[in-house]
Structures are given as structure tokens and as C-alpha cells.
């Protein structure tokens, strides 16, 4: 039997080329886009990365965490600590966010993995709250009211002078461009890493564990190790994104950095609206969310109320999200992961 196994489709080839073109466009965009466009894109890209990471643990790994704000917050505070306490350059301090989130993720996973379903979700939220309360005691970093990055530090971030000179911008605008480029790199890097993971045999294992972890263990999948690996890497990357977000705002407080609304509820909204368990979902979701935010954010609590209604409507009428609705109708997948088998029996080549 002659076989071939393919994952790529015509749509995915086109999508791949389009993605490369978009990344290229994204890189050169600061040369002609206005500062507010760059700021909007920074917002979109960081939320997209957070959404992809939450989708990885919840949508693929089946771990519905509502405590991801813990990693955003601890990552951001670690970066601030590096700058304020040790005088590091803010860019150099971003990886501290990764390290801090990892250190927090280990005990969090240790505790939360003992819990099932809703208890897992609540457990992660409780740990995030405890972390927020502890960080609010940290007086040198502003305690409960928070603090700003010192002027000396923000005035002289690596690369900002060069960007200012290259694009003919003032320092503040050049800082936004730098943050935007880093956000672009994180979004592209995260999505590429997730896609590579899903295309590997560990992607199959992840789906198997989510569908039936008893059966997955019975074919040799190490379900526990896989969950640990996914949870820790998503947490580490979330911490890094948190550090970047608060580098851009240059101001931090426990309430903002550990906000369950912003870093988890909005993120879940994005994933659910777009389509959970698929790479395309958060992309659609973040665009919808940004559109709603731009149009209606001034309406305050009515805005939040409407977000809730929309989420409920989508869950009822399109449980697989907007992208799920589209892909069910058309069969199109931009980032396919399914291995498709085609066989051609070749006569008597296999007699025996």
C-alpha cells in the first residue's frame, strides 16, 4: 500500500503566504502609520497573544483557568522590580516576567491540578487573588496604589534613540514603536510555537487527553506531564506579555496588573467569540472585541453587559464560535492540523 499523509490545504497555503505578507507589512508599518494606530495595534497584538495562550491551556489542554491575570501581574511586577530595584534596562527586565510567572506557575499547578472542572477554575482565581494581595504589600513598588517607571529609565530604553532617529519620531512615539515591534514578535512567536506544537505528535496527545484522558493513558500518553508542560509554558509566556504591556503603559498598580476583567474575562470573551480550540478563533475574536471596544467602551457598564449578552448568544447559537460557524459551513481551515490519509493500492507489490 502506497500512502501519503498531508495536512496542508489550498486555503492554508494561501493563508501562509498572506500571513507572511501581513507580518512583513506589520514590520514596516511604523514607517507610515500614526502613533494612535500603533497604539491600537499594540493593544490588539498583546490581547491576541494572551488569548492564544489561554486557548492553548483551555481549548487544547482542557484546563479552564480564570487565574491567568496572576501571570500578567507577576510578570509586570517582576519587570518593574528589575528596573526600580536593580536599575536594569526595561527591555532587559522583560524576561524577568517570564521567570517570575514560571516560579508562580509551579505551586499554582501543583495545587490546581488536584482540582477538577469548576474547582480548578476557582482554584486558579483564588491563587491569583492571593498573589495580588501579597504584591500590594510590596511598599518599594508602590504598595496598593502602585508606581511608575522612573523617568531616567524610560528616557533611555535600549533602541529607542535609534528608532527615533530612523523614523524621525519623538522619544515617546519611538517607545511605542519599540513596544509594538516586541508585541508583534511575541504574537507571531506564540502562534508559530502553538502551531508547531499542534502539528507535532504532542498535538495529537493533547487532543487525545482532552477527549478522554483514561484512554490516552492506555495508549501510552503521559497525560500529567503534558498538562504540566503546557500550563507552565503558557504561564511563562503570559508573564512576558504582562511585562511588555506594563512597559508600554510605564505605570503599574496591583488592581490594573492583576485585573481579572481585563486579562482573563476579556481574553475568554475573545476566545469564546472567535472559536475555542482553534488557532483562527482568537484572531477573529480579538478583532470583534476591538471593534466593540472602540465603538461602545464609553457606555461603561452597559458595554460590559452587552459583552456578556453577546458571549451568551454565541455560546447558545454558535458554540464553536464565529470561526467554528464559518469552518463548519465551508470546511476551510487557515491553520489546519488534521492529518489526512490518502492511499493508492499498487497491485501486487505486497504479496507475501
Amino acid at each position: 500500500m502506497q500512502i501519503s499523509v498531508t495536512t496542508r490545504t489550498r486555503a492554508s497555503t494561501i493563508a501562509g503566504i498572506a500571513a507572511l505578507a501581513l507580518i512583513g507589512l506589520g514590520l514596516i508599518l511604523p514607517a507610515f502609520a500614526s502613533r494612535s494606530v500603533i497604539q491600537d495595534l499594540f493593544f490588539i497584538l498583546t490581547l491576541l497573544t494572551l488569548a492564544q495562550l489561554w486557548n492553548l491551556i483551555a481549548g487544547y489542554g482542557g484546563m479552564v483557568s480564570i487565574g491567568q491575570q496572576a501571570f500578567v501581574g507577576i510578570g509586570a511586577y517582576a519587570m518593574f522590580a528589575g528596573v526600580i530595584l536593580w536599575g536594569w534596562d526595561p527591555i532587559a527586565a522583560i524576561p524577568l516576567g517570564l521567570g517570575a510567572a514560571l516560579v508562580l506557575a509551579v505551586p499554582m499547578a501543583f495545587f490546581a491540578f488536584r482540582l477538577q472542572g469548576a474547582y480548578f477554575a476557582i482554584g486558579t482565581w483564588v491563587i491569583a487573588e492571593v498573589t495580588r494581595l501579597l504584591v500590594a504589600q510590596w511598599k518599594t513598588l508602590g504598595g496598593g496604589t502602585g508606581t511608575s517607571l522612573p523617568r531616567e529609565a524610560t528616557a533611555d530604553i535600549w533602541g529607542v534613540k535609534a528608532i527615533a532617529a530612523l523614523l524621525g519620531l519623538r522619544d515617546a512615539a519611538a517607545r511605542d514603536v519599540l513596544a509594538y515591534w516586541l508585541a508583534l514578535a511575541m504574537a507571531v512567536g506564540t502562534m508559530a510555537a502553538i502551531y508547531i506544537l499542534l502539528r507535532s505528535r504532542n498535538g495529537l496527545a493533547l487532543a487525545a487527553v482532552r477527549d478522554n484522558d483514561n484512554a490516552a493513558r492506555s495508549v501510552g500518553v503521559d497525560a500529567a506531564r503534558l498538562k504540566w508542560a503546557v500550563f507552565l509554558s503558557a504561564a511563562a509566556m503570559t508573564g512576558m506579555v504582562g511585562a511588555l504591556i506594563f512597559l508600554q503603559t510605564a505605570r503599574i498598580s496591583p488592581d490594573a496588573a492583576f485585573s481579572v476583567t481585563t486579562w482573563t474575562a476579556y481574553v475568554i470573551f475573545i476566545v469564546v467569540i472567535g472559536g475555542i480550540g482553534r488557532l483562527e478563533g482568537p484572531i477573529i475574536g480579538v478583532l470583534v472585541f476591538w471593534g466593540l471596544q472602540t465603538a461602545f467602551a464609553d457606555y461603561g457598564s452597559w458595554y460590559l453587559f452587552s459583552l456578556g449578552l453577546i458571549a451568551i448568544a454565541v455560546m447558545l447559537f454558535a458554540p464553536r464560535g464565529l470561526w467554528g460557524l464559518f469552518t463548519d459551513r465551508t470546511g476551510i481551515a487557515l491553520f489546519p492540523v488534521q492529518r489526512r490519509l490518502t492511499t493508492t493500492s499498487q497491485g501486487d507489490s505486497r504479496n507475501g
Partner: protein, 258 residues
Amino acid sequence: MQRPPRGSSPGAAGRQSIMTEVLRLENVSKSFGALRVTDTVSFSVPKGQALGIIGPNGAGKSTLFNLITGNILPDRGSIHLSGQDVTRLPAMRRVRMGVGRSFQIPQPFEGLTVYENLLTAAAFGQARREADVQTECAEILAETELLRRANDLAGSLSLLDRKRLELARAMASGPELLLLDEIAGGLTEGECQALVETIRALHARGITIIWIEHVLHALNSVVERLLVLDFGKVIGVGAPAEIMASKEVREIYLGLEV
């Protein structure tokens, strides 16, 4: 002449038989609450044998499989695979030692395609790269008559095809000891014959097989030895003809059917 044995001769003989023994259970017991589902069960299976297990509903047959695979742990007794004590070893590790199983109630990975179900079992059960198991998995699909459903989601299969997938996935995990739990129920005569041929072929390859089955004519056309379980106890082991002729078995087991 042989060298004189270093220890006592029974010990050496014992070691000899352990080498050719794929599975040994010694006084294994398991209770769920007050219900003793496995009651001091002891038996062993030599390499390459096909053993059938029969017994009335609720006798504890599937539980015995769960104990062998490590999906549940025994209260007492020990389980050895190829001479190694695995009583406390997790299921995942036993798969890597060559234990493959099917579930009586099919447990497919519903969000994966049929082919991907096999790829997962082969890549992890045999600890091999995905690219190296692609052909083997396609061949197993052909053998189990699932090739036409290869690219369909496992969640969309009929019960019959789900049972086929149970067998196919267990085969893909690369077993030396294959545990099959009631895979012939509901098949037509022709389908049942095809299934028997598939299992015979596995047996001919040297794979050790333990098969729980209520469809006795299919079972008896494959296995060399039968084990009868009733209320968690082994009440008979022997050649199929001998077991089927025994009065106790006819009363306890066949009496219910005839």
C-alpha cells in the same frame, strides 16, 4: 552436558518459565466497597498463547483487564509482566512494556480522525516518531476495514465502527500482549469471520492474546485455553473442549444461555 545449576534446581526451573511467561497474576484481589469483584485470582499466560476469558455478566472480567493494564490498582496480590513486577506501575508505563487493550465500551478520541486515533496510539505506545508509523497505521486500518473512514472524526462513527476502532487502536499501540474486551458482539456472521481472521493473523505473528468474549464459537475458533470467571473467582482453566464439557461451567455459565 549442561552446567550444573548455581542455586537449587526448582529455582532455576522457575526462572526459566518466567522468561517465557508474558503475564502472571498471583492472588490478585479487588473490591469496590463491599463487593469483591476480583477474588484471589492467580494464573499465568505463556508467550504467544491465545487465552479466552468467559463468565457471566458482572463476573469481573473487565475489571481483570483494568488490573492488568493498570487502569485500576489491586487491593492485594501481585502482577508481573515478562517477569517484572508491575503491580504499582501506572498504565502509561505498562503500554510501553507492550500491553495493548480495547475497551468494552468504546472510548475513541472523538475530536481526532480515525487515522489520527491510530497515529496517537502508535507514536506514544511504541515511542516512535509520527512519520515512522504512518504506513503501519494505514495498514492496520485496511486490516480492520476502517480505511474508508480514515479521515472521518472518530466521534461520527457508528457503534460497530467504534468497536473496530478499539481493536485497530490497540493494534497500533504495538502490543506484545493484546487484551480484547468483547469486540465481536453485534457483528454479522461474515463480519465475525473477518474479525476472527484478523485476530488469528495477530496470533500467528506471535502476539499473546487475552480475549473476553460472549460469542463463544468465534472465541473457541481462536483460543488455545479458556479461563472461566464467576463472582470474581477463577472456577476453571483448560483446553476449550475440556472447559465446555465441564459440568460446573455448563451450569454456571452456559446454563444461563441455553
